[in-house]
Amino acid sequence: MSVVTRIRDVISGDSDVRTVTRVGTLATLTVATILVAIPLYWMVATSLKTSVQIGVFPPYLVPPTPTIDPFINALQTGPWVQWFLNTVVISGGSTILVLALATPAAYVLGRREFPARKPLYVLFIGILMIPAQILLIPMYTLFSRIGLINTRIGLIVAYSAFFLGFVVFLLHSFFTNLPDNVEDAAHIGGVPEWRTFLRVILPMAKPGIATAAIFVFVFTWNEFLFALTFLQTQELYTISVGLQQFQGLRGTVVYNQLFAMSTLATLPLLIGFALFSEQFIKGMAGLNLK
C-alpha cells in the first residue's frame, strides 16, 4: 500500500475515534522511522562529503558536491575486500552451522514425545541466560588449547555455540505451532520420517527459519568483541574489527572515509533485509513466543 492511499485511508476512516487512533499510530511509526533513519542517512551523507565539508558548522544536510573519493581513498588503506570476504564466510558459516544443528533439535523438542524432553528444552533456554562476555576468557583458553584461536572456523564455532540456544527457542515455538495433521498425513502415507522433515516440515517452517537466519547473520556480521579477541592477524579480520583498526591506523579519524566503509559494511544487510523483509515479517508474526 502506498503512503498516499494509506493517508487517504486514514483520512476517510469512518469514525473519528478510529481516525485519531490511526493518525496516532501513523505519527508514532513516522517518528520511530525517522529516529532509525537519521543515523543511517547521516552515515551515507557524510561518506559522500569531502573532508572540508564535514568540518563545516552548521553541517550540510545534503552533500553539496557528492563525491565517492572517501570510498576510493579508504579502500586503499587496508585489505577491505579480504575483511568483507572474511565477514561473509564467518557470518554465513555461523548461520548455516547454527541452522543445521538447531533446526532438527527444535523439531524434535517441539514435535516428538520422549523422556526428558522438557528438561532438555529448559536447558537450551538456560543457555540464553549466560551472557556471552562471561564466556570470553574461558572460551579463549579452551580454543587456544585446541588451536581454534585466530581461525575463521574458531569464530564460527563460537558464534554457533551462542546462537544455538536462541535459535532452538525461536524455532521450537514455530514447529510447535505447525498443524499435526499434515505430518500425520505423511506418516500414514508411509513417507520416511527424514523425508517428511526435509520435504514437508522444513518448507512449512521456512518463514521461521528465514527469521532465525536473519537474526544470526545480522548479529554475527556486526559482532565485535569476540572477533577482536579471537582474530589476531590482520588478514583474518572481520569488517567490524577492520573498521576499528581503521580508526587507529591513521592516528586521526578520517570521518568521511570511516563512514564510507561503514556504509559499505551496512549495505549487504540492508539489501538482504529488503529482499527478505516479507519472509521476516511473516516469520515474526508466525512466532508465538511463550
Binding site: 499434515v182 500425520d184 505423511a186 500414514i188 508411509g190 513417507v191
Partner: protein, 362 residues
Amino acid sequence: MKLEIENLRKEFGDLVAVDDVSMTIEDGEFVTFVGPSGCGKTTTLRCVAGLETPTSGTIQIGGEEMTYASPEERGTAFVFQDYALYPHMTARKNMSFALESTDMTSDDITQRVDETAEMLGIYQHLDQTPGELSGGQQQRVALGRSIVRDPKIFLLDEPLSNLDAKLRVQMRAELQQLHQEIKSTTIYVTHDQEEAMTMSDRIAILNDGRLQQIAPPEVAYSQPANKFVAGFIGSPSMNFLDCTVSGGRVETGGFSFEAPAGAESATTVGIRPENITLGRPNTDGHAEATVSVFEQVGSFNIVYIDVDGVDEVVAQVPGEKQFEPGAEVSVTIDMDRIHLFAEDGETVHNPPVFTKQPAAAE
C-alpha cells in the same frame, strides 16, 4: 480388508475417550461412526490408523494383529477434516508424494495420479497449490492422495464438514459412488446423522466413548438400542414422553394405549414426529393440542404442539398441511410405530423394521 476392533480403550490422563469398543467391519463395508462431539469417534478412528496408541484392546486388519503397528504398516489411508494438504506442494505433488517413497516408477506414479485426478474431476487443477483451490477441490485432492495409495482401509474424519451445504450433499453422493467403484473398506466419521444415514452400510453410534449400537441405518432408525440412539438418529428428533404402565395399558398425560408385550418396565414413550398426524379438532382426535410454532420446510413442515397434559411435542406433517400458531388441532399417533424405554434408557419395545422391496430379478 476386514477390520476387527476388540475391547478398545483409550485414555488421555483421567479422560476416557474410548471405552470398551468392539466391532467387526467386513471387507468392502462402508461404516459410519456417528455421535456428538467428544463421543470418541475420531479417537477410535485415529487408533485404527495408528495415530493413537490404545490403552488396551486389540485391532486386527485383515486378520493380522495391528494394535501397536506403525501407521505405514497398516495400509490405511486417512482423510482429515482440514484436508491436511501439503501447502507448498501442487495438487499433483500432494498426490504423488507418498508414492515416491515406494518402489513405483515415476511413469507409473504419473499414470496413477492422472487416472485418479480424472476420476475425481481435478485433472485440470493438478498444477495448482492448495491455496489456489476451493474447499471442494482441496477435498478432492485429499481424497485423491488417499486413493492413489490403494489402501486396504479408508478412514475419513468428518471430510465434508468444512464445505457449504450444497457442496456437501453433492460430495456425499460422489463419495458413495466412489466407494461403489473402489469397494474398499471405509470408515467415515461424522457428527451429522443425516450423512450417516444416507451413506452407510452400517452406522456405529457412539456416546461418551461407548458404542451404543452398530446396525444398518434403517435398523438404527426403527429399532434403536436405547434412548440415546433413538434421540440422536432422526431429524427432527424423537419425542420422549414420561409414561406409566398399569393394567396392561401405557399411560402418558395425554395418551393411553395398550401395552405391548414386555412393556412393564417402560418409563418413557418414544414417538417419531412423522408418526404423529394432526387433524381438525374433535373429529377423530385422541388428544387436543394447540400449535405453538410452525416451521415451513417445504416438502414437509414441522409443527410444535402443546398437548394437554404433556410437554411440547414435535410433529412432522406433509407440505400441504399448514397451521397458524395458536391453531387447535387433534392429534393421532400411529401406535404401531411406538418405542418404549426403561428407566435406564434401554429399549423395551421397538416397532418392526420397514421391509425393502427386493431388486428385480435379472
